[in-house]
Symmetry: C2
Subunit: 341 residues, 2 copies
């Protein structure tokens, strides 16, 4: 691998000049620059990133910390985040936290050791704080204490709209399935559900009559199946499974128990993996704007890097979209949409 000194020698200039010609900062005569560039091409010169990072005190690398690479919910954001960052000249270092506090600490150490210029972080520990001084943007979830700017989906509004859709279809006995109550995603989704339910006069945990319930489990297929098993003796008319994994769990449970969707039970979901549309008759869902979230997170982070005074931590809420498909059945009790039965 040839170095800048090689290029300078071949071009017949000093290293300083060569550096300026190549980086494009500082004065260089047009003709000199041409010669340097030519020499660089001839030698197949590539700037050494390590030397640059050492001298410039910035690595041009940003970290992405997420619970699990193999989860389409995160990768949907990661894909556009990556391309946005790439366009701005940053490389992406990926570390996974495995949804554990230990894993998260380990990932932070990795990031710090690598001198990343900033981090996009899907937080695990609701009370964790990012290392001071490092530009961090939280994605999807946010921690309790507002230590960093977060880019999230407006789940409250989205789930409320989804819930209203159920209510409009004539449902008055609703169950929402959420994950661990410490996660911001759990509480916000539950809150959207409760708001819409309360506004329609559904009473939480009422033994009968118009009612709604919130069941907390774990954001996984097993969690969803287990939760349905738990309430199986007292099934609602509709269940809102507030993550795609929970939807899978409900579907699995329904298949095993012979419960037909939407005939025996209406189902609404969250997220929009490709199979939602494929599954007959399609899962009605609230789809967070994952791509847009990734884009915004990248932009926010880039804006924060290199700035000495960190802008105040804010939460950026992006609106998603309710997608109506066939997993909800209009009841005889009839709502605005009328009954199909």
């Amino acid at each position: 691998m040839s170095t800048l000194a090689d290029v300078a020698r071949l071009a017949g200039v000093g290293v300083g000049t060569a550096s300026r010609a190549i980086s494009g900062k500082g004065y260089v005569d047009v003709e000199t620059k041409r010669r340097v560039l030519e020499a660089a091409t001839a030698l197949g010169y590539r700037r050494n990133a390590a030397a640059r990072a050492l001298r410039e005190r910035r690595s041009h690398v940003v970290g992405l910390m997420l619970p699990d690479i193999h989860n389409e919910f995160y990768t949907a954001s990661a894909a556009v985040l990556q391309s946005e960052l790439d366009a701005a000249g940053y490389q992406l270092l990926v570390a996974t936290t495995g949804n554990s506090v230990d894993g998260e600490r380990h990932a932070w150490e990795t990031m710090l050791d690598r001198q990343v210029d900033g981090v996009v972080h899907v937080p695990v520990d609701p009370d964790g704080a990012p290392p001071p001084g490092l530009p961090v943007v939280q994605l999807n979830r946010h921690t309790r204490t507002a230590t960093a700017t977060a880019v999230v989906s407006d789940d409250v509004a989205g789930v409320a709209e989804l819930t209203r859709h159920l209510i409009d279809a004539g449902h008055s006995d609703l169950v929402a399935l959420v994950g661990a109550p410490q996660l911001s995603t759990s509480t916000e989704r539950a809150s959207g559900f409760r708001q819409a339910a309360a506004a329609a006069g559904l009473v939480e945990n009422a033994p009968e009559g118009p009612r709604c319930r919130v069941v907390a489990t774990e954001f996984s297929a097993d969690g969803g199946a287990e939760a349905m098993e738990r309430i199986g003796h007292d099934l609602p008319g509709a269940v809102v499974a507030l993550s795609s994994r929970l939807v899978m769990g409900v579907l699995r449970w329904a298949g095993a128990r012979g419960v037909r969707i939407p005939d025996d039970l209406s189902l609404a979901g969250l997220g929009d993996p490709e199979w939602y549309a494929l599954w007959q008759p399609g899962i009605t869902t609230f789809a967070p704007p994952l791509a847009e979230m990734g884009r915004r997170a990248a932009l926010e982070l880039i804006a924060r890097i290199g700035r000495t005074t960190a802008p105040p931590a804010t939460t950026i809420r992006l609106a998603g979209e309710v997608k109506v498909r066939g997993s909800i059945r209009a009841t005889a009790r009839g709502g605005v949409t009328g009954g199909r039965s």
Copy 2:
């Protein structure tokens, strides 16, 4: 951020000693080492990765080049690859090629600029060659010229087994859907299909009688739907869609055309995304051992890094598994499994 010099000063030793104490290479008195480590902890010292990379001429970073982060086929391997690499002290730099030769070239430049120690690569250009001298392991696909070691699924055997399953169920009019013919995945999957079909006496492209066809399109849902549209006038008894995207395309097409699976058309797939099992009555498929492939790729790469003489390029073929579910209907014409109709 404190430096090694700070640590050395606090511990009352020279930087050389401090370096040896911390890196654990070279002679250091036990007591001295303790003092250094203590000082390091007190100062919250972290080794500067850039300086280390510059001096050691290796970055402890490996690159992962894949077509698209948002594709569960690759992330299934990437997840275990990441954890394996992490355990060996390597960080993962991710670049996407977007399935284009240009994107691939750009990704290579990124990798070279970053001085990565090695690369795990899902090749796009079937004729491309990795930069000489850099340890590279190809994942999933391999290039035509055996320039690097590749870790792939034994698609020939797997697809042959899957095809035999169809034949055993009494099918004698088969279509296989594959992607671009330059990709090794396309040719190997097609070859497994042809082998099994020929062994059962199916004639390729025969106008009637026991026959089989191979239709090349693009590895995408649109490609699958378009291919089905193209052959819709002359439907086979069963179609083998040789990627999960193609399966989606077939399913979408079937939904739109009112073709029932498996009643009107049997379907077999490849890969095993979570929704295969969920989709009623389940997609019968050949599932490549993605996790194991990721693990092996990581191990092979680690073994190659730091070794001066590159071991010869070999292709490591890992066996996958055929998963039988409900998307194949036994025909009246009856095979060993007998007909359900």
